[in-house]
Subunit: 245 residues, 2 copies
């Protein structure tokens, strides 16, 4: 991991980095006495475009004493595009436009390679960041492609809690993995999300093996998550990332 | 309405009252500069037995500057029992014990007479309490039999917001009434509630006409609502009962 820039933004220190070929951004609280927990900020891809919104999530996290990190998704932004993913995405969009449910095969073809590639990248990012003296863990997941969050929560023991956003398609095999997830979960669902299948989202929530899981459904579409839902997610991280080390 | 006792309990003033034949309890903040909003505290019946838990809900509400009130349910506590309700409850429990879904007819027979009787009683309670100089409204609903909450939210314009607990059976006709409810709603669902039908609860939530509604599902059974869910409900009332008059 190489840091390529650093600037002070209010009470945040923002550092751009590259991990191999993967660009990323790290936000840490400007004033922190001891090593802080780390939140992995998920997003739909296109890191540069997402930076203002990601910084707006990192800022209250820093006020709670947490570092936040985002990395570019495989195939997004300036990273090499995947022809197979583009093909699967086109098939998905055709199905949605025709008012049909996308087939399991199309969902698998779109999501599973993304999970296979993104999860090791997130784990390498954690390896590098947890070596910094100012970052101590534990690690929380905040949003992003839910299938990536499920796999990470399943395979990565350093992850202590996750806020997941039921806002994208989930392969059947990932729902099976959800049964083996046991960390505390805070699952956000937009009730009228046009790009989502509500019944499937409820099924994913039901599948999680965690004894502490909460589903929070709000009205509106994909981008309509109300401000107070973000505040509740902060309370969730405060309960599960502070003092659990 | 006649007040029959008054005592100071920390920062609360607790007053027992009777409204006609109906016993009730009013909690008001000991220190309040101006008339306060009022929260109707629902419960499953048996006011005396419920008083410690109701007081524990009234206390944080008073700290937010809200009065709270509870009245005995029709047919519960020392109020005359209904033979028809007892018969319907026995039929419901037989169905549940047999692993069957209770029939619409049984649910209607248990719940609709309760709604018909309880809603005018709540409205008479509001009439009396809103005449007190220390209580000004608006009025919020907090829990209790959800069918009563739906009817109240539908017919009573003084009710500005409701926290509803999807924890009892709901007649079909009440689901239809839910479509005409438009106030902000905060709906709590216990995902594994043994005395509840999860799919029906999701259907009720979906039916509400409110543009601002939030579903919060937590793990566990009927009495397992976590402490932080109560805190979120407080935040909901703070957003919708303060400064809206």
């Amino acid at each position: 991991m190489h840091f390529t820039s650093e600037r002070r933004n209010g009470d945040l220190i923002e550092r751009q980095f590259v991990l191999g070929e993967i660009p990323g951004m790290l936000w840490t609280p400007a004033r922190a006495a001891s090593p802080v927990p780390l939140i992995l900020l998920g997003h739909p891809g296109g890191l540069n475009r997402m930076l203002p919104r990601l910084a707006a999530r990192a800022e209250p996290a820093a006020a709670q004493g947490f570092a936040s990190v985002a990395i570019e998704l495989p195939g997004a932004g300036d990273r090499p595009a995947s022809a197979s993913a583009a093909d699967a995405r086109a098939a998905l969009q055709r199905a949605i436009a025709a008012g049909e449910r996308p087939s399991e095969e199309v969902i698998d073809r779109l999501i599973l390679p993304l999970v296979e590639q993104a999860v090791p990248e997130w784990r390498a990012t954690m390896d590098a960041l947890l070596e910094l003296p100012e970052i101590g863990g534990p690690v929380g997941i905040s949003g992003g492609v839910i299938a990536i969050g499920v796999r990470l929560a399943h395979v990565e023991p350093r992850i202590a809690a996750a806020v997941l956003f039921a806002g994208s398609y989930v392969p059947r095999s990932i729902i099976e993995e959800a049964r083996r997830v046991t960390i505390p979960l805070h699952v956000l669902l937009q009730w009228d999300d046009e790009g989502n299948d509500r019944q499937l989202a409820l099924e994913v929530f039901d599948a999680f093996g965690s004894t502490e899981k909460q589903l929070i459904a709000n009205m509106g579409g994909h981008t309509g998550v109300p401000h107070h839902a973000g505040e509740n997610a902060s309370g969730f991280f405060a309960r599960h990332l502070v003092g659990v080390r």
